[in-house]
Symmetry: C2
Subunit: 450 residues, 2 copies
């Protein structure tokens, strides 16, 4: 049976299955949902078996359990590992939802619910495509599934789990549907992610809060000093001043810059959506280059002194900041972390004590468009959406993708079907039914072409 | 009877009277002590009448009541207005006190209690000197007392009270014992106070917190921007860069600089006490000049973005700072406030919105050493402490002193007997009995010489 027809005939069941997952509020951030995590994992186990897996099992981790399943075709055939996550973000603020977050509803051609896209809906796309190819005898390779329950809280247990189960997770390529496309009419595949390095800075001036009248002007204020230090990190041209920071940054290839320039992008609309009058970034690069192919430096948090109501004069003892850099592929986050610590220590004046603590980091990621699995995915999108997808780099970081590469030595193809309007992590999360169907078609086509 | 002898014979009673005030926990910051405020005011009323006032009364204000008392000698004689405050700071942390803060104790020649110095002890010095001159028929001028109960919370009701009672408070000079000396062997009179201007700055970038991966590098981060703006306010030489900021700043006269240079000051000890390795301030000025005769700029508080545990990546919507300048005499705080607002708006880049809100301010103050009342005070200190007191400017601000000057048109002589070791506002506040006695002698001598 042709895939379009198969979806038509089985869609009511697909919805029932997806809704049965959505109705379990598997919110990983909230400890009171501990039982829901296991319930959701168990439901996936059932659904994976029903979809055609030979075996499926719940696997414990340091945190929430994982679901592993597989369909073995042949020892000689390549193996695809499909990663997804069954946990969701909290649904607050509840009053902004038009229908209940954990009572899925179909309205205006969309499925509305927490997890409708991220990642229950997108994972279901993978599972239903798998079901189709298995049931029609079209599967030529082995398929493994690993679904985790802690993605929305930063996958704290996944790294150790992967290291422990290298053999079980052995595969030739990883397939993930957890990213988004440029638009419903602008299919795209994510081929790059930025890395991350994160630090906390503590500046200590005097050993206690001082009277700013008695000491002000004579003793360095740690907040003033912290601001001066942080103001130095980016220069007039929007470049990061840390020595050797750009050493491993590959210039964006001309061909890629041309492709980026072709992405329909309305800067006025972009600014209006976030209500700013002007943009700011590294000189010589466009906005889309700046937020995807170039590194950035952001102060994520700052605090010190008196922050209550009204006014209190004080020359405080301490000032703090949490700062981060988005890195581009080839920049090693540990090397960058050290360069940054050295730099801040070097520019720190002798009238304060400065402590820079690396918090965490992750490598960037690039998926070569010459990868056979990438090309199969490209064909899938082209078939389902009627046009060849653009290869785009994204500015965010998905640390697990680089963990997979580092620990398992496998590339990942980010075959995501999300849309910005799907409002993941927000009230009224949804996925258009049309996209859900096209997603299944695209993944089926991937299997046929891999 | 000679004053020394008078103190000796009456000291037990002085202590009893002072202790009766101290035992009333008149903590203005804590609403649960509302009744104590009135109780303390009433006790002062009794004591002022017993000390020789013709009349004394409790006067309501928008906040805590004030105590007014007077002794009228002659319509032709000049009038001295003695200001003090009967409220005290909270006593926390209680566990650091060696004896109970509101159960005064005499140990090792000191009185230990909250308010022993600030300002019950120092006010008592004034009242007992007044008692002596009245009882011995030595008072040649009229004396008025005004004791408020909100000094430790910024005297919020005093300004309106003064404006309403200009006639009642009419005087030729104001006498205040609420400051400190350089040391027990280094008597000094405070002749200058710095003014203050205070602002809150709000920087708004995007209209909501953004994903630092998706937007970082392309959209200006308001914390980065705030740091850059604040870093510009002080230049390499430690000078404030606001245009026209120094227009009204009088260069410290050479004679005064010479006097300052003579003040025994150990910079190494000063640094060790606050545990800093180096000092920082305006080029061309000494530490004692910087913290008393020169303006300063301090960031009193800063906050924005994620300030919790661990790391969270965010490109926040807002960043805030509370900033203040200490001003020197002749700098008008309203003029400076406007200059600062204009400057920040001028340097604010177009990719953020910046709002600068003036919070409060006060003028600096100078007491000319040619003022007859100053010279009488100088004689008082010389007699009691055996050496001529130094005239020193202090870096702090006492807004009420400039309010008195502006509203009533009267200069104040700051005849304070505190010592740094008296630990005002801290656990184990105390006053040496020896200083208490010398204070009374000095004030008696002031009355005889004014």
């Amino acid at each position: 049976m042709e895939i379009k027809q198969y979806i038509k005939e089985n869609e009511a069941r697909f919805m029932e299955e997806l809704f049965s997952l959505i109705r379990i509020p598997s919110i990983s951030a909230l400890p009171e949902h501990k039982d829901d995590m296991l319930a959701c994992a168990l439901r996936w186990k059932e659904l994976l078996l029903e979809a055609g897996a030979d075996e499926a099992m719940i696997m414990p981790s340091q945190g929430n359990p994982l679901v592993f399943a597989q369909k073995h075709i042949s020892d000689e055939a390549p193996t695809i590992l499909i990663y997804a996550h069954y946990d969701v973000m909290p649904a607050e603020p509840l009053e902004l939802w038009k229908s209940q977050p954990f009572e899925p509803e179909i309205r205006d051609g969309h499925i509305w619910a927490r997890g409708a896209d991220d990642d229950k809906g997108q994972a279901m796309i993978q599972v239903k495509a798998f079901e189709y190819v298995v049931k029609h005898g079209l599967l030529k390779h082995n398929v493994k599934f690993i679904f985790e329950g802690e993605e929305e809280i930063g996958s704290p247990s996944l790294n150790a789990f992967i290291k422990e189960h290298k053999e079980l997770l052995k595969a030739d390529v990883i397939l993930v549907s957890d990213t988004s496309m440029l638009g419903a009419d602008l299919p795209s595949l994510t081929t790059g992610l930025r890395g991350l390095a994160y630090w906390e800075i503590e500046v200590t001036g005097p050993n206690r809060d001082l009277h700013s009248g008695h000491f002000g002007g004579a003793v360095a204020n740690p907040i003033n000093t912290l601001c001066s230090i942080l103001a130095k990190v980016i220069d007039e041209d929007g470049r990061i001043t840390v020595p050797h920071f750009y050493d491993d940054v590959e210039e964006v290839p001309a061909a890629e810059r041309e492709m980026i320039a072709q992405i329909p992008f309305d800067e006025q609309k972009y600014m209006a959506a976030i209500n700013v009058k002007a943009l700011k970034g590294e000189k010589g690069y466009s906005t889309l280059e700046r937020n995807s192919c170039r590194p950035s430096f952001d102060i994520c948090g700052i605090w010190g002194g008196y922050t209550g109501e009204g006014s209190k004069t004080v020359l405080p003892s301490k000032a703090y900041a949490k700062v981060s850099c988005r890195l581009v592929p080839h920049q090693n986050h540990e090397k960058i972390s050290k360069l940054f610590v050295d730099y801040i220590n070097a520019v720190a004046p002798d009238y304060v004590k400065v402590k820079v603590t690396p918090m965490h980091g992750g490598e960037g990621y690039v998926c070569p468009i010459t990868l056979p699995a990438y090309q199969a995915a490209e064909k899938g999108f082209a078939k389902a959406f009627g046009k060849k997808p653009l290869a785009v780099r994204r500015g965010g970081s998905i640390p697990i993708i680089s963990d997979f590469e580092q620990i398992l030595g496998i590339k990942t193809v980010l075959m995501g079907f999300g849309l910005e309007s799907n409002a993941i992590h927000s009230p009224n999360e949804n996925i258009p039914l049309d996209i859900f169907r096209k997603g299944i078609e695209a993944v089926v086509e991937f299997h046929l072409n891999y």
